[in-house]
Each structure stands twice: as structure tokens, then as C-alpha cells.
Amino acid sequence: MNEWLQNPLIMTGVAIGVALGGILTTCAYLILLERKLSAWMQDRLGPNRVGPLGLLQPLADGAKLMLKEDIIPGHVNKFLFVLGPAISVFTTMLAFAVVPFGPVSHEKGQFPFVIAPGVDLGIVFIFAVTSLAVYSIILGGWASNNKYSALGSLRASAQVVSYEIPLGMSVVGLALLHSSMSLEKILTQQAEMGFLGWNIWYQPVACLIFFTAALAESNRLPFDLTECEQELVGGFHTEYSAMKWAMFFLGEYTHVITISFLTSVLFFGGWHFPFIAEAASAYPGAWVVKVAVLLFKVSCMIVLIQMLRWTIPRFRFDQLMSLAWKGLIPMATANVLIVMCVLEFNLPRIWLFPLSVALFVAVGLIGTQASLPAGGATVRRKKVTAPVVAAAHH
């Protein structure tokens, strides 16, 4: 390697370029994939006019959004109106700085596969930065000077502030198990322990909580109370158009990519896969296989997220809140407690799996009891099942 590559700025710059270019391209094609998936689910064809199989559609979309008239309505607060989408893109992109997208290397002059290698508090950094993303929605919604936008952003703030708690608590167990918050270290430790070292075997409930809460943080469909077309026109982005509107969605799709990477790295062993991408494998081109494995896992997560979006209807707002406060947060707390007990009493780690399953069953049973109508106290409420049946005939 020549001297020039030893400069830390060079490789960081290259990593930023690769990550940024990758994210922007992926975002564009995620939109195409989402449109195609939704079309196939609904027995349609999806975009198929631009290029072979519609593969050039993202270019057409991008050109359209760039060339569209960029309207700033007269009644908005101009500065905050412009600031909102900028914050959305900025924060979600910044969060990607500590996400490893391949076998991380600390050697000088080698491609690091992460923009900021060696950040000790990886997950906390991501939470801190993404918690700022809610400002984009609130500022955009408030600055729009529109009741629908304001309602959308009010919902967003309550939702994001609530779901940040289970999101943070679900990874506390991982931090305890690996005695680190650094994504690279968690990934390396999983890879060294082999297939059975993947955190999904020890923290299945935490994985579920993390995935759900991260989905809620990204305001994607089962949790997209903020845009909610039926009730709020477009929610926080009602007044937005052209590229500013697109930037909100650039932020959303970047967030989806980030949470897919995080779920893969934290719970599914990152680039590790038995036999082909072990921690010790050093055959030529091993890094290509590792990157491919990681990207495959990430694409599986992304497809799952997009399938969920077109499968599950939107939550009602009180359901959304009770899922966070009555379901996920107690579950995450109990999960942390279980991890602490296992570590404190030096039990074998595999105990975590049956204990997590037991926790899940317990929460399910409690949920069953909670949804039963309380006897006696609610005499005034007559139980009527007929309207539900009647409504089905319309």
C-alpha cells in the first residue's frame, strides 16, 4: 500500500462515498421494489414501462421529483418548513456512520467497511441521532401551519418518544451479554462463537421488541399514524411537494435500511454464516462473501419490512400507545432482568432461550386476561356482537 492510502481521511472519505452512494441508490430501488411487491400482492404488474421490467423507473421518478415545481405555500414558516426535510435526511444518514456494512478492519490503508470505526458507544450513538429525527416531522408539521399537519406531527412526537424506550431497553440485554455497545464488537463476538452464537438464540424476545420498536420509529405502515391518509390527508407532509417531500421519504427509506442493518448485525450474526463466512475464513475473496452474506440478510429484513407494510393494517392510536407502554416496555424490562439474572448466577447462556420463550408466553397469557371484559364493574356496557356481522355484508 502506498503512503497516500495511509492517510485516515482518504479511507474515511471512500467509506462515506460508498455508503452514501449505496444508500441513495438502494433507496431509489427500494421504492421500485416496494411498488413491485405491492403490485404483485394485489395481482397487478407494477411499474414496467421505463426500461426492461421497469428497472429504470427510479431514474424517471428522480427526474420527475427534481423537475417538479417546488412550492412553498404562503402561509408557512419558511425557515422551519425548509429545515424539516433537511433534518430528516441528515439525521438518518448520520446514524449510518457507525453501522458496519462488512468485515470491519482497523488496519490503516484498508477499506474500513464502516464510516466511523471504533466508536465505542455505537448503539447509543444511533439512538441519539435518530431521536433527533422526530424534529423533522414536528418542525415540518408545525411550520406547515395546517391542522392536519399539526395533528400528524403531534402523533409522531408521542409515538417516537414512547417507542424510543423499548428500542433502547431491548439492546441493553445485548450490551450486558457482550459487555459492549459497539456494533463491531457485538458482531465480531457473535461471529467467533459460530452459528449458535447469533443473538437470536439468546434474545429472541429482544429481537422482536427491537424490530417492532424500530419499525415504529421509522414511521412505516403498521405505525404510520403520522401520515395516515384516511384521517389526516397526508399528515405532516400535506403541504410538501417535489424534492422536499421526497427528502422526507429518502429519510424514511434510509431509516429502513439502517434498522435492517442493525437487526442483522445485532441479532443475526452480521456477515457470519456457517461454513462460508466464518470468523476464521481467510480464503481469497472472503470479504466479498462476507459482504454478500450481510447484504443478503439485510435484503431479507427489508423485504420483510415491505411485506409487513402491505399486509398489516394501521394501528389505532390507543392500540399503538398500549402496545408500547403495556406490552413492549414491561417485556423489555423483564428481558433485561432475565439477562442480569443469568449473568449474575453464571448460568449457561443457552438458558436465555427457554427463559425468553417463557417470558413471551407469560406476556401472552397476561394479554389474554387483560382483554377479557372485566366482570361486574362495567354493567352499563352491553355486549353486542351483531353489528360486526352486519358490517361484513356491506
Binding site: D43, R44, V361, P373
Partner: protein, 216 residues
């Protein structure tokens, strides 16, 4: 009026069993359904510009002005359509037919200009129903485009050219009776008048249970 407490029916949420309260079976059941639609490869999409849609016979598209057998405009400039039009998109200037011209033999009036704003029109078909001599009819042309507003204000010649375009295509049969004054003067032979939008008995729309369709 305040709502009486007895009128209020409280609907309790149905109680959930163990699996339902974990949400997972519902989510995976839904994913199974949507996933099966993804992989089955069936589509119901019409490839529109290549495959033209099959429209019902009573489809209401762009207007035309019919001609009689002498090639004259059939319209007698009675203003019935302009009066009936709810969107006020028809404006007619009537003039007296020259008495000595053999071309206008048997006609009193004809429209000097007949302008119809296709952008204002709501394609309700009222003009067609109001017309006593079946001069104005709605055709199957649904893909009307233009680059300016003025281009889509159809004048008499344009409307007549639409007639020439569509009279033989099979989708827009001339529904009028032929006669000296396009049938409306011959009360003896006048059929029991149905609306011009009446449909054939075997048409799909004729079987619809909605009222107002008169079968011929």
C-alpha cells in the same frame, strides 16, 4: 337533542385467546396470504395502450353532431341541449336557413356556430336526452387530450368530424331515426321515445338492478 343513555349500544372488543393476544398468528397469516399472491404470478392488469378496454354500449365519451342523409347538420338549433346542460358548456348561435337554397330544403333553422367545451363538460348525457332530433350524441372516444384549453373547445366542424370518425366504427351506431326533420317532425312514426342512452337487452348495464334504465 341529547342522546338517551338507553340508545347507546356499547360494543365490547371481542376477547382474544392466547395466540391472538400475541398478534403473531395474525401477522404471519397475513404474510402468508400476501406472499402467496406475490409468488403465484397472476395479474389482472390490462396493458392499456396496447389492449384497449371493452366499453359498454352506453359509454359516454366525446360528443358528436350527427348529419342527416343529405349531409347537413342534423341540429335544428332549438337550444334544448344548451338549456339542459348542467355544466353550461354548450353555446349555440342559431340562424335562419336560406329559403331559396335547395340544400336547406325543409329546414327552418340551423346552428351558425355550435361550441362545446369538452373540459367543462361532465359527460352526464343530458344533452343527448334533451335533443328532440337526436343530433347530439356521446361517443366512445374516452382518450381526449390536448395541450391548450382552447384546443378542447369543440366547434361545429370538429363535432361533425367526430361523427365522420365514429359513425362506422360499430361502437357508436347512429341511434336516430331518419326523416325529413330527423324524425322529430313525424309524430305519426315517432317511436315510443326512450332516452338516447337506452341500452340493449343483452348489455351488462341493462341487467343492473338500478332504476332509470329503460329497456328498448
Amino acid at each position: 337533542m341529547p342522546i338517551c343513555a338507553d340508545d347507546v349500544e356499547w360494543v365490547e372488543e371481542p376477547s382474544m385467546n392466547f395466540w391472538e393476544s400475541t398478534f403473531l398468528p395474525a401477522i404471519f397469516g397475513g404474510l402468508q396470504i400476501t406472499g402467496s399472491h406475490v409468488v403465484d404470478g397472476k395479474t389482472v392488469t390490462h396493458q392499456y395502450p396496447e389492449e384497449k378496454p371493452v366499453l359498454p354500449l352506453h359509454y359516454r365519451g366525446v360528443h358528436r353532431l350527427n348529419k342527416d342523409e343529405a349531409g347537413r347538420v342534423k341540429c335544428v338549433a332549438c337550444m334544448m341541449c344548451a338549456t339542459a346542460c348542467p355544466a353550461h358548456c354548450i353555446s349555440i348561435v342559431a340562424t335562419e336557413a336560406p329559403k331559396d337554397d335547395p340544400l336547406w330544403n325543409g329546414r327552418d333553422k340551423f346552428p351558425l356556430s355550435f361550441e362545446l367545451d369538452e373540459l367543462k363538460c361532465i359527460y352526464c348525457g343530458m344533452c343527448e336526452e334533451a335533443c328532440p332530433c337526436d343530433a347530439i350524441e356521446l361517443t366512445h372516444i374516452y382518450d381526449l387530450v390536448g395541450t391548450t384549453r382552447a384546443e378542447l373547445v369543440f366547434d361545429k366542424n370538429k363535432l361533425l368530424s367526430v361523427y365522420d370518425e365514429t359513425k362506422d366504427c360499430g361502437l357508436d351506431p347512429v341511434r336516430t331515426k331518419r326523416g325529413a326533420l330527423s324524425g322529430c317532425s313525424e309524430f305519426a312514426t315517432l317511436p315510443t321515445l326512450g332516452p338516447a342512452t337506452s341500452v340493449k337487452a343483452d348489455d351488462r348495464a341493462a341487467k343492473a338492478p338500478s332504476p332509470g334504465v329503460i329497456h328498448d
